[in-house]
Symmetry: C3
Subunit: 362 residues, 3 copies
Amino acid sequence: MQLHTIATSIAIAGLGAAAQPVFAQAAAGTSTVTIYGIMDAGIEYRSRNNADGDGVWRVNSGGLNTSRLGFKGSEDLGDGMKAVFNLESEVNLDSGTSGSALWGRLAYVGLEKKGLGTVMLGRNSTTVYDFVLPHDFMGYAPQYSYLTTSASVPSSGYTSRVSNAVKYVGSFGGFKLGAHYGFGEVSTSAGANSAYGLGAAYSAGAVSAQVSFDEGRSGATEALPASTRNRSAIASGSYDFGAAKLYAGLRATKRSPAVPSATDVEFRSDLWWLGASAPVSQAVTLFGGVYYENKHDTGSDPTMFAGKATYNLSKRTWLYAVAATARSKGDNGTHTPTGVFRDQVPVGAQQSGFGIGVQHRF
Amino acid sequence: MQLHTIATSIAIAGLGAAAQPVFAQAAAGTSTVTIYGIMDAGIEYRSRNNADGDGVWRVNSGGLNTSRLGFKGSEDLGDGMKAVFNLESEVNLDSGTSGSALWGRLAYVGLEKKGLGTVMLGRNSTTVYDFVLPHDFMGYAPQYSYLTTSASVPSSGYTSRVSNAVKYVGSFGGFKLGAHYGFGEVSTSAGANSAYGLGAAYSAGAVSAQVSFDEGRSGATEALPASTRNRSAIASGSYDFGAAKLYAGLRATKRSPAVPSATDVEFRSDLWWLGASAPVSQAVTLFGGVYYENKHDTGSDPTMFAGKATYNLSKRTWLYAVAATARSKGDNGTHTPTGVFRDQVPVGAQQSGFGIGVQHRF
Amino acid sequence: MQLHTIATSIAIAGLGAAAQPVFAQAAAGTSTVTIYGIMDAGIEYRSRNNADGDGVWRVNSGGLNTSRLGFKGSEDLGDGMKAVFNLESEVNLDSGTSGSALWGRLAYVGLEKKGLGTVMLGRNSTTVYDFVLPHDFMGYAPQYSYLTTSASVPSSGYTSRVSNAVKYVGSFGGFKLGAHYGFGEVSTSAGANSAYGLGAAYSAGAVSAQVSFDEGRSGATEALPASTRNRSAIASGSYDFGAAKLYAGLRATKRSPAVPSATDVEFRSDLWWLGASAPVSQAVTLFGGVYYENKHDTGSDPTMFAGKATYNLSKRTWLYAVAATARSKGDNGTHTPTGVFRDQVPVGAQQSGFGIGVQHRF
């Protein structure tokens, strides 16, 4: 690796009386600060994007993975202990904006103990988000996956991020355990607006499997302390046959509004998915599969077929093509809108989309 | 160069199953991540800054160039191919705020091929912005240039940034070609709110010249898909006599409102500029010239004389002084307001301003 | 110190015609860009947090010190001269948000001359903020200090940050002098909304002492150019006995509303504080003391006892516990609300809080 001479140093600065010189840090142990990111943008076409059935061409940020910029670091405290932190910001390459909270993806500090795991404090990804991610053949792609949130009405899915959280994750041989609790911070009632999650995973050789649970609560106030609850339980796994890798899972979701209304009813759904990936050359890998959601109440039951192909230009840069088509059962018009794009409210009973793009990781 | 020992590394992190170790990157080729910026602040006085004719003293960020912080990087993919990205944020040193879109200056990822050029996806500077910049003797300075936008009523100028864009730039010997297309992303009509630009430049020895064109469209909705169009064509150049460098150009602008109204009429203007720069010592360089705008409809025809002096403390830090005075023809009161400060709506028929400041680049 | 191989370089980039290569910088002198930060989060309980007297459990960012991310740099210009800059952003680890102004803590560029001091332009901490900080036994902690702002009604304190500012600080042997002036930038009147501060400090051996003054003005408009004024004078110091260090001070504050009203009356208060810190082992240091505020008008006169213990895991990472209890004189109900948390309007006549957390500096 070529060494670039550097005019950068890590220092304690601007901290008034508590400032510490650079070299005092060195004595405290090895430490790193890492700047990292994913820069992902492409051109997308989606059919039936408005009520008149018109399609749209767009530049989209994050066709494969949400574009992001992050800072993370760790300090070796000795005895297998580390201090860790991570700040991660969503970047919208199409418009140059960031996510509504600057460090809305990750903002935590924590301690890691070898053999015991890591405890983190702050805003974090949920346990279920971390545990299910390896089993989605589309990798939570905005183009196109139904796993975190489905683009169907009413939408379903699980909480991806949690604020005010204590989170734990630990690995023990092939086993991995995770849990988090997010404080609701409503003075009246300790449980109002709180959130929690649990996960257990196992991997060995070709096998990877997990079960996890997530509950997010919202909407409570001091005057009306009952929370709306969104609960999801997910079982998922993958098996690597060598020539191809299979992915499958089931997400059962239930929404229980604190104050049910005509537009916010109690709601249940089961999302099944099945997919596969296969390297077809040294540079090209194909992914494809299907998401099917059983919506217990509306019966619109959307199905989305989705696939992608990646062409590696290096271990950090690749070109990609993605495509998906989704439709709800019965194709019965505007009362069961279903789309392919996770982050957009759909308007018609079916939609297709495709895109090409480039992703660079650093 | 003194080497600073470093506790920083570039790593893939926080990417779940796709995480890759640091050393895998090294094998993929040489890569860099660069933190850069311009920190520019000064004290400015402007006369006739309100309706009563009062002046104002201010601390201003970006007297010479907009203050900014950026991250950019590239990866060598082999065969003369590179992956590139750039995130650039406006910084307002006076108030500590950033531009309204965090990465509103630049947010793109792209591929560069030696001998062919670079294709970028995301938010970017417009082609005309890049091509004309070297020919403005005031370097698009907020204090004080009329080139990107004039501080006169109605204001005129060209789009500096474009969202949802595909952009190309390539150099072939002394020739440089550029183009961009910004998707409008309105479902009804493919062209609504789209933007595009074209540029061609030539430089050899003392000569530099370019022609470019820019069209920005805005205001279209699905219900009313007609766009308001702003078109500019610019021819400009510079010639370096050694003892001094001359700059000249003409920008022809036309605004065509989709729905003309009393406050948004069709509007045409021609902006001429002529300037020069000359090093007067090893540390000091002087710049000065005039902008004259022929406003075809209102006839207010503002003229601004502007100049600056820079005193280099190093190759990256300099002190500067700037001054300008602008007035509209006839000095006929409030119906032809004209000012010196590009980013502010003027209130009187004439205004002068001056400032001193410091700029540091890293 | 272990050397980490780096794929980072500092370069001038994206600056059009003025771009300069990396190695040109090296020739211009030694320069650094530093990424630094404080990541501080913990769990807090506060009693009587609403009108019904309910307490609340929270994850809080910045129990000991405001969490932050910063970029700073300097360039050696020769002859004892340096160019300096600093961008510092508040980070709320609990919610992932940043402060309302991205670089609201620090955003300046300046010049430093050895033996003469530093002049900075931009947004900055006030002189009084810098000079008093070493004498607060709680170090301006959000959990829990009354020094910058008291959590009592009406609140009192001094301006921590100033926009549009010219600031000077210089050290001469044991003496330190500081001053700043923040332009009000109201066209009508040069003094409207301006701010200024002055400070003088002395330290030698075990002794540290300072006197400083701060005036912030606000609320003026062109139509009504009179400013509301907040003035504070502070005398404070510390003495290090070795086994323990004592801290004491007096802050006299006066608020003079431009337009007094029922909810914004002229207001005076004197805040006294006395505290101590003592290392009790190599890893553990205890801090504790009392803040007492004499509110001349309301007579509610809150008293807050506050303390903290830090347990060092390294020179950059520590665990901490903090606790405080505050009450206003007479405990006379809702007309004299008093709390412990600087950043929150209190609702009752007394409040207690405690928390545990972890802080990592990089």
